[in-house]
Symmetry: C3
Subunit: 376 residues, 3 copies
């Protein structure tokens, strides 16, 4: 019967203080996926990103547009208005905004005030994903979007899915970067008991955090065994690489083969997944997922089977992460709250320290807005 | 791609700082409609007004009573008690209160403590409306209730309705004082496209703000066209006067006629509506409505038809204002939040500045209670 | 029309300032019932006690265990994990905790860190109740649990029940210590009109507060009349003693007899009830109830009849107390909020002052945790 040791608590709290958590400000100067490309069209879509309400649509020529979802006159949500050619007409008093967020018509008066505009956001499409830059627009460079080439390559088959996730995005990144949880949270789906103790390598650079885990030999769970033909093979190899590529993107690549066959002479099967944890609020994120494979391209049953099995497993993450978020929110006031880290957390710790540094290095939004305006 | 201009933001925020908004304290020294007269009877009705819970009832002789809905002993809501003759018996320990809020019996002891009372509120009935004075009772004068004479006149026919509105009352006043929104929010009901650009006159006095809008010639929407017989007439006149009469009352008067006929020789049709935005909490109000006309008095179908059509249109206001409230609440933390005003907003700006001055000029409630007690 | 007298308000607020209310910190150094003994077994039960989430279970040998419901690694709720022999395996990354809350295995690494543990709580069973000590474990002494002997005696028959109660526990204690509310809140169940004005005696010691009320002669309500055979007897005696025994326990003992028969020569019927208001959050408590009698032991219909009747009456308390809590929460901002006390409140006032002193005398939790750790 007792309490946690004071030394452990103090050490753990000090270490945690250097890591991003659910109360850390968002990293704004970054590209985030705000929608699947096919969600956006000639109707107005409201979506909350980094705690801001955006309105999304496409111009008549198909260019995606992202604006603040708030009229500059009396704050009515523009998403409740109507699209007229390339502009939005506010549903309250009819102010009209072009695709840059500039007011171009005030129907109750003949003269339109000059220079009134709301924030517009740089956007960019890559295959099935629409990205927006949420920070200082002067810094937005679509070349820095870390989208893997397989998102658009014809040599891959893709299928997408989405979860609304009532959990801070940092917890989802951390979940993805240490897959030892497969043996427990996913014990009933695609995890196996040998996963947790398999050898792994960590790669840590500034802004890139990866963990490579080799489970060899192993018996694959159905989701991987059936598509690869390795069903029942006790000598399968399961090599998984989790990569944090940006605050808005995580890629997990899994490779499978028969470990009894020599390298080069064996078929290898690769499945890649973009796990996309776009912050919605500090207590929720949009969990976009694009899964792809480079084999059996024309076999639809593989696409359907993998989608069904994978999303059942990802639902376990959603359920677990939402429980976790609830626990963190409940425990806010506890003076004896602490979290220790383990050896397997190294990549995740570095990643969370990086997120904390990124957030801390950004100027407050108010300054950004003013600086930006002064320049433009 | 960009941000709002700093100059615009600064100017807009400075101007907005002088106007009441959803965070401005309520104006307490004022008459507010707390119920329709026929809602109050020999049962106890609980209603929240200006963020206070009231209990409302009538004495055996029919006098309306408004008290704080809270026992002075252990805070049990009196509305959960019972009415005994003219007094309330608390449902917890049986304390009895007379219609002035004074404790007149404590059944667990023979001696009733002297001088224990809860707040009672001056009330006054005018036709279908029951008003209460929410501030310093010494200042309550029923002569200052700005109720129009048609509320009780036999030369008018009236019909009432109510919306619970999850929106601050200031936004409802503003909605009523600039009817350019008819062309947009009510495009599908009683708005017409020519409304927004019609000529208007503004009247501004201290505490009285009015806007008169003349849409001539126009084609009336069904709600007005059918009862007036001006259906299909492209030369109808639609003259609307919005008047802010007090923090608790807005009156809109609409007059219709055939503009091709000479004044004096033409029938004119007038419809008046009390729009009553009684604050409930800072995020909600009671939206009481009394609509009246001075023609076709005995034609019930006109009453029914207008009620159905008008309340469908008012529902559009409710939906829009609730969206607006949600947007304002969501945006609280945004440092780049701003609202510009337009020429058509002049009356509304003055009205909101007046509400802000009124609220600022009142002493804190604690002082009022003490001063008042010292005097009595 | 007016306001409460300033003198009354000032006096009432000053007196109330010395009493515990719904905002008073919990008394932690105390035994609280956290569950019925038969709720705890070989599955993990999550329960919030004094605003902390606990996980409860039994070891293979039947010993009850209470731990903080939060993994020391990444805060996952342990109640979502699994029980393995006497230990919990976290459902996220598999950390294993023994029944003392110490981490004994980290499956992702061969070395288990030493000295990492979460809080465990001393627990003790008495008959149908499981108690836990929520404060400094060094002070936990099961001998101080104030459980009456009839909880385990074979000469009594018991039946239990539970209400989730959205009300602070102080209000429930107060409700139990002044039963004058029987004539009002329970007018339709086991209250009678003579109850409120019956003579009573108050006993006040430091930490023990009791009120004895004698309603003689009276007519018993069905719940007491039928089991005692005193139905229709206008000379029944109804003697009720309410005793506050600890912040976690209230006992009400009711005795009935025919008052026309001489003492000694008359049958007396005693019914005792543990009313157990375990704080859950500051706005809710677990209301555990154990009712017992020492007569008609083998008559099951009496057990069933009394249970049905009593719990219908206790539901009236739940409904009333939840209304009360809502009123208190609504009124937080009112500067003229006050509560006067009555003669019948004396025991309750002393009890609430005692709770306030107890809460104030405890060190902040952070200190306790550190002190405790230093010692252990």
């Amino acid at each position: 019967m007792g309490n946690p040791a004071a030394l452990v608590v103090r050490g753990a709290r000090k270490a945690a203080g250097r890591m991003a958590n659910r109360t850390t400000p968002f990293v704004r100067d970054e590209w985030y996926v705000v929608a699947f490309a096919d969600e956006i069209g000639r109707t107005l879509l409201k979506r909350t990103i980094l705690d801001r309400d955006l309105v999304l649509y496409r111009t008549a020529s198909g260019e995606p547009v992202a604006l603040d979802d708030r009229c500059a006159h009396r704050s009515f949500p523009l998403s409740a208005g109507t699209l007229m050619a390339d502009s939005i007409v506010c549903g309250y008093h009819g102010l009209r905004y072009d695709a840059n967020g500039t007011v171009i018509d005030v129907p109750s008066q003949t003269r339109c005030p000059k220079g009134v505009s709301i924030r517009s956001y740089p956007v960019h499409e890559t295959g099935p994903l629409l990205w927006a830059w949420m920070g200082d627009p002067q810094l937005a460079d679509p070349e820095t979007i870390p989208a893997p080439q397989w998102l658009t390559s014809p040599e891959w088959v893709r299928k997408s899915g989405y979860f609304p996730l009532r959990c801070n995005y940092v917890s989802l990144h951390e979940n993805l970067l240490d897959l030892t949880h497969l043996s427990f949270l996913h014990a009933g789906s695609f995890g196996t008991p040998d996963y947790v103790s398999a050898p792994y390598e960590v790669t840590v650079k500034d802004g890139y955090y990866a963990l490579l885990r080799r489970v060899v030999p192993t018996m694959l769970p159905p989701v991987w065994a059936k598509p690869t033909g390795l069903e029942g093979n006790p000598n399968a190899a399961r090599i998984t690489r989790s990569e944090f590529l940006s605050p808005g993107l995580h890629v997990v690549t899994a490779t499978f083969y028969d470990s009894t066959l020599p390298e080069g002479a064996r078929p290898e099967f690769t499945i890649s997944t973009c796990h996309i944890p776009t912050p919605e609020t500090d207590g929720s994120c949009h969990y976009f997922i694009v899964n792809a494979r480079s084999f059996a391209l024309d076999q639809d049953w593989v696409t359907d089977f993998m989608h069904e099995q994978l999303f059942a497993a990802f639902q376990e993450d959603v359920t677990g992460l939402e429980l976790l978020q609830q626990t963190l929110e409940r425990d806010d006031e506890r003076p004896d709250f602490f979290e220790i880290s383990l050896a397997a957390d190294r990549a995740s710790i570095e990643m969370r320290q990086y997120l904390k540094r990124r957030a801390a290095s950004e100027a407050p939004l108010a300054s950004v807005v003013h600086l930006q305006t002064a320049r433009s």
